[in-house]
Amino acid sequence: EAPITAQGKGFSASFDSSTGSIQSVSLSNGKVVKLRQKYQWYAGFDSPGTPPSGAYLFRPKGPASGFPGQPTYQIFNSPDCFEVHQNVSEYVSQTMRIYPDDPFIEFDFKIGPIPVGDKVGKEIISLFQTDLKTNKVFYTDSNGRQMMKRVKDFRPTWKYQVIEPIAGNYYPINSRISLQDKDEDIQLVVMTDRSQGGTSLNDGELEIMLHRRLLHDDNLGVDEALNEPGVDGRGLIIRGKHYVLISDIKSSNILHREKGIQLYMAPVLAFAPINSFDEYR
């Protein structure tokens, strides 16, 4: 029942001992940021006659739902790495990873196959919740270069009318999305390993769309539903990573740019059987 904590570079994270989920991040400058992360899902819009959710169209029927029950977990702690292996549902699981010399927390997720036996298309998101005061503002990158300022329910170039309260606030994420609390001088950055979409619907929150399986053609060109059978006919399974950084704004901007380049330029590993390393050396 003791709080479970892990030490990263410049921060320590604490985990909820009943679910294994992250609870807060304590920075080396003494600040403590509440950080929760969970998976949720949107039901795709499907009433006949109106544009449904589909390959080109993101149109959730309503707010996101959670997964029933409580995640189960196991933690493996070694001097080189702290890992939480967490099962959220029969098709959502993740490993949270903290290295002692790395300022980022790695979320290594596996989603799918998404069950659609209930005839409901589903879109799975990862939701990060903090106590940061962000005043409806968040940032997404443009091609991994400049960070674009986004404001909820707002467009800088025209008078925006809220028709799709959720989809209308989704923006493309090429490599990262972030929130800033200027008063507290704290920034949350979530880096992705591929292009995804995301938003901040509530203050201090970020959500990123991870996987979708929909049952209707949105009549925008693909001529079929986003319902791939996958290798074994049960649907697609995806695996990916998010790298999460909570830090003061200035150092965060340095760290996430460096990480972005490092992720993009990961080393190439080549393997060869060999008898004597000394001879090779």
Binding site: E1, S18, Q74, I75, S78, D80, F271, A272, F277
Partner: protein, 186 residues
């Protein structure tokens, strides 16, 4: 140039916005992977010549016991046939990043003992960490590894470094792993 041309062709095709964003149909995704994999497999001779040229200090000699490298393209799902079927493996890493890079290497591993040796001949600390059960049965993964050997390498900017990983049959590694289980929930 013929080999590099394969890459040019593959990357030319993968300029399509679907390939860049992953929005292609699954069968197209398989085709993209096939095209790229084909280019990679045809480039192995070129890559080996380059690595041998860089790593041998006598450019003119053609010693015939140069290691012949392959890639493990399934490393992201903890699958690497060479590591799993050989007791002594040389790993040479190329760092395309222009700065020194501390990189975490994870290799599919059983629970056998290990010895990792760095480029300077010193042994390198490592940990053996279980692969989560939900990652072991990933579709398409054909590996019996249940753990990963994790160690950190330090790579020079725009450079290469070689590490040597050896399975030791001697007794089990000293446990460097603490396992925390949740309290049984009522």
């Amino acid at each position: 140039f013929e080999t590099v041309h394969n890459f040019h062709r593959a990357m030319g095709i993968l300029q399509h916005h679907d390939a860049v964003t992953g929005t292609e149909k699954q069968l197209v995704a398989f085709d993209y992977a096939y095209i790229l994999n084909d280019a990679i497999s045809k480039s192995m001779d070129l890559m080996n010549r380059a690595l041998q040229y860089i790593s041998s200090n006598d450019k003119s000699s053609k010693s015939n016991n140069e290691p012949y490298y392959t890639l493990c393209l399934g490393l992201n799902i903890s699958q690497c046939e060479i590591v799993e079927s050989n007791d002594k493996v040389l790993i040479t890493l190329y760092n395309p990043y222009a700065h020194e890079y501390d990189f975490k290497v994870r290799l599919p591993w059983q629970q056998s003992n290990y010895k990792v040796t760095g480029p300077d001949g010193q042994s390198v600390n490592a940990s053996i960490i279980p692969i989560p059960s939900f990652m072991q049965d990933f579709p398409g993964r054909n590996s019996s590894a249940t753990h990963e050997l994790l160690f950190k390498v330090r790579l020079p900017g725009l450079g290469i470094a070689s590490y040597f990983v050896e399975k030791l049959s001697a007794n089990k590694p000293a446990p460097r792993l603490e396992t925390i289980m949740p309290l049984p929930t009522l």
